[in-house]
Amino acid sequence: MADPALVASDPFVHRFLLRALAMAVLLGVAGGLVGCVLLLRRIVLMADSFSHALLPGIGLAYIWFGPGHAGLFAGAAVAGLGTALMSGLINRLTRLQEDAAFGSLFVLCLAGGVILLSRQAAPVDLLHYLFGNILGVTGADLWLVCATTCSTVIALALFYRPVLMDTFDPAFHRVSGGRSLATHLAVLAAVVLNLIAALQAVGIVLALGLFILPAATAYLWCERFGAMLLLSAIYGGLMSGAGLLLSWHLDLPSGACMVAALGSGFVVSLLASPRHGLLGRLLPTRRHFAHDDGPEDCATP
């Protein structure tokens, strides 16, 4: 447990905490954006597989290059992208579908990663990668996250149209000359990079929370893709930061608090969203009918 005097002090005077706060906000913004694409493309669980598949890459990098962050991130990137490639090949060359290939590979990768890390590192290191430690991040870690977040925002702004078209209707995107496979691979690459960026902060186990919870929350409120992206990014950034500050004041694990803070808004939205929440579905609303212009106006001349 942390020193009670430290916990009670103003968090904004501590440089390491400011660094962690900046990282939480940046991760929340990027996670919120990537999460929207994952949710709408229905590949959330594939992203979960990715996060577990990073572990053997970290293990091998630890063995070969030591505990330096650059090596570990490179190892994670190779493992994540390798898993994506392997799953694609298994899907095309065997009877297995892509989700089954991902599912099979990720448990293998997780087991391999645990074995590798348990042989080489102290148990605390293993827990560090499983659950993260955002308060221990360095300036270099922050720059990595900053670069990843900026890249994600810029890439999504530039490729907004292909992402929208391919996510809404991949067949039409293809007919129109769009590069559906390239778009899919770019999305997977963005997932891997953002997972790696989140590894240090929240760890492999909770990383998906930064992606899916802001996106699911925004999805319950928004009727347009652009609005969903915006709300998800803002909500992700704010609540990740709030969760970190909460963890500081309550002396609780930071990664878990960030995910819990993101989850609190999700639960409220699940109940209270007027159009898509539980209460909205259970209670009769006049708004819906007022908005409707008839069951079918196909007879319009």
Partner: protein, 246 residues
């Protein structure tokens, strides 16, 4: 627009999973009309459409539109799938769906110009979807969604529209409405090719028909082509050929 344009398949062979699903097909589908593609299950109807779209390689022969190989005319051919390929829960309004037809023309980065907006407005007016332009796509009825998707294809500048069983899931008034709009659109020098199972619908709405069972059994004006003899050759005896689906 020329009235002489046609989608022509010459000695066409297309394989699906290494087996010829369509072989030595010769047909000419003229513009200004709604062409029905008719045949039993496994006759190669969807395979033919996929080959026209360039999704399946040709094992032999050629496909041309307006005298040019279809590979060089990609922008003019659009498609509406048998099963909905759109994500039903995607947060998007009807106008944005139609706008995305122009994205196909403009590419990823170019700004939306006045002529893009005009094309979108014209397509929405033609398919009578302007009145629910701001409504979420997911909340529209099946018939309305079909019309929005066709408006998207029109906005993209398509001259040929391929539809694989477009009437699936539509009630009779919605189906009639859709067919009327397609026929009217095609009358302006364009072509609609639709796989339709209901032979009564084909007789009522299609100007031309292609009877297909791996190769062309017959192709031409609907009344003359859909003779009992041709249908029997297409579906094979016993001629229980009316109103089935699948």
């Amino acid at each position: 627009m020329s009235a002489d344009r046609a989608l022509v398949c010459h000695d066409l062979t297309v394989c699906y999973r290494k087996r010829p699903a369509v072989h030595h097909l010769d047909c000419a589908l003229p513009c200004n009309g709604l062409v029905g593609v008719v045949g039993p299950n496994g006759a190669g109807k969807s395979t033919l459409l996929h080959a026209i779209l360039g999704w399946l390689p040709l094992s032999g022969g050629s496909i041309t539109w307006d005298g040019h190989a279809v590979e060089t005319r990609r922008g003019v051919i659009s498609w509406l799938a048998q099963r909905r390929t759109q994500d039903a829960g995607f947060p998007v309004d009807a106008r944005t769906v139609v706008d995305s037809g122009r994205y196909a023309v403009r590419g990823a980065f170019a700004g939306f110009r006045d002529d893009d907006r005009a094309a979108v407005e014209a397509a929405m007016a033609e398919m009578h979807v302007a009145q629910f332009a701001s409504r979420p796509f997911a909340e529209l009825s099946g018939g309305q969604q079909q019309r929005v998707l066709i408006a998207r294809a029109l906005a993209s500048g398509a001259q040929v529209l391929l539809l694989d069983e477009p009437l699936t899931g539509l009630d009779a008034p919605s189906a009639d409405d859709l067919l009327r709009r397609l026929r009217d659109w095609a009358a302006g020098g364009r072509l609609v090719v639709a796989v339709i199972h209901d032979l009564a619908v084909v007789r009522a709405w299609c100007s031309e028909v292609l009877l297909l069972n791996r190769s062309a059994i017959a192709c031409g004006p609907t009344a003359a082509t859909m003779s009992e003899a041709n249908l029997a050759r297409c579906y094979g005896p016993p001629p229980e050929i009316g109103h089935h689906h699948g």
